[in-house]
């Protein structure tokens, strides 16, 4: 699993590739927590390269959603893979966080 971080004017894009499971989730958790600690509280997590996401992976995302919100920001998901989107829907993610069909839409939802 690898992540690529890119800072834009008022948000930070985190692209995730590979498998997001119990073995790799802690690494992503670290990345996201560090970004928030550095003041980058508006996050877009792009799951475009994620082939598999387990409950451990979901918990990492949820934790980061809560963390970013308690710092006055938000974490929004860009999800283009139908398999991953199915997992997000089943686990109620769509109900409690904003999920967009593309990175551009997720990014611009933070305004310019």
């Amino acid at each position: 699993m690898k992540t690529e971080v890119r800072h834009e004017i008022n948000r930070t894009i985190v692209e995730v590739h590979g498998s997001l499971d119990a073995l790799t989730a802690p690494e992503l958790a670290n990345t996201l927590v560090n970004q928030i600690a550095e003041g980058h509280v508006n996050l877009v997590v792009d799951l475009i390269g994620v082939e598999f996401m387990s409950s451990a992976g979901l918990r990492t995302l949820l934790g980061a959603v809560k963390e970013s919100r308690s710092h006055g920001g938000d974490l929004r998901i860009a999800s283009t893979n139908p398999g991953i989107d199915k997992v997000l829907k089943m686990s109620g993610f769509h109900n409690i966080a904003k999920v967009f069909p593309s990175q551009a839409e997720a990014a611009s939802s933070f305004g310019s």
């Binding site: 003041g39 959603v65 809560k66 308690s70 006055g72 109620g92 109900n95 409690i96 904003k98």
Partner: protein, 281 residues
């Protein structure tokens, strides 16, 4: 680090006349000068949510909501539909089946809200419904209020599903009886949640009562499961305001409204000190 003002929302879940307790809660908010950033209503709760979002005074809310929800809205049965249960071939049974006609209800709603839309509300409002085909939870926030309300109170079997924006909509309680996820999604910090368990019909004497009974069991289980999930994923605070009633409050007991409002006020006053501390923190 910027100090952002805390956002606060009120969610009034399904519960017919018991939802009037929200007016008691609102009385306290007005007195303390606490302004809500969002109001969400589901099923019967959406009637009170809408009245509050429109900015009516407390007495106006009481008078208007009495007009919206009372026995007269169940006075007309839908005979054709009832006949279609036994003779589905002759009287065509279809998706628009209902035991009651919605004509008296629509008349009541229109007399109170006329042609007003969501854009006319003073506080952002969401009225919940459920997609009849897929079962997903739909948060309505555009268009005429009467439309959204008619969809939200479309209790299965009793009133027919309501066509709206390409979907057929029914009672929001079938997917989300206490829709706390709407303010969570919008990043609201403090959520005041007023939800009610569905009372279980006491004696089962017929198939339809049985079906209704099972529905109530499932609505309660859904309420609990949703609430557990939403509590676990919210970043800040969800405060349950639970009014206590020492007597049964039945579906159309509008004469109990003053008592219900009083109990709502009491329940809110208990939580008020904590809510104020949260707002100031």
């Amino acid at each position: 680090m910027s100090i952002k003002k805390k956002k606060i929302a009120l969610v009034v879940g399904a519960g017919s006349v018991k939802c009037a307790a929200a007016l008691g809660l609102w009385k306290v908010l007005e007195k303390e000068n606490i302004h809500l950033d969002m109001i969400v209503g589901c099923s019967g709760g959406s009637l009170y949510a809408t009245a509050m979002a429109m900015g009516f005074s407390l007495q106006e809310c009481i008078d208007k909501t009495k007009k919206l929800w009372n026995r007269s809205i169940t006075q007309q049965r839908n005979w054709r539909a009832l006949a279609s249960i036994l003779l589905p071939g002759v009287f065509k049974f279809n998706n628009h089946f209902s035991m009651m006609s919605d004509v008296p209800m629509l008349r009541s709603f229109k007399s109170v809200f006329g042609d007003k839309t969501f854009a006319d509300t003073k506080t952002p409002l969401y009225i919940m419904a459920t997609d009849f085909e897929t079962g997903e939870s739909i948060a309505q926030c555009e268009g005429p209020l009467v439309d959204a309300l008619r969809a939200s109170v479309a209790i299965p079997y009793i009133w027919s599903a309501w066509p709206h924006s390409g979907r057929l909509l029914i009672d929001g309680a079938a997917s989300n009886p206490l829709p706390v996820d709407v303010p969570i999604r919008e990043g609201v910090d403090i959520i005041l949640a007023m939800g009610f368990q569905s009372p279980l019909p006491s004696r089962i004497k017929s198939v339809s009562r049985y079906a209704f009974y099972i529905n109530s069991l499932m609505t309660n289980n859904l309420l609990n499961a949703n609430f557990a999930f939403h509590n676990a994923v919210h970043h800040a605070e969800i405060i349950s305001i639970v009014p206590e009633f020492d007597r049964p409050i039945r579906l159309f007991d509008t004469h109990q409204i003053p008592y219900v409002i009083e109990q709502g006020e009491k329940a809110m006053l208990e939580q008020l000190p904590y809510i104020k501390r949260l707002l100031e923190s």
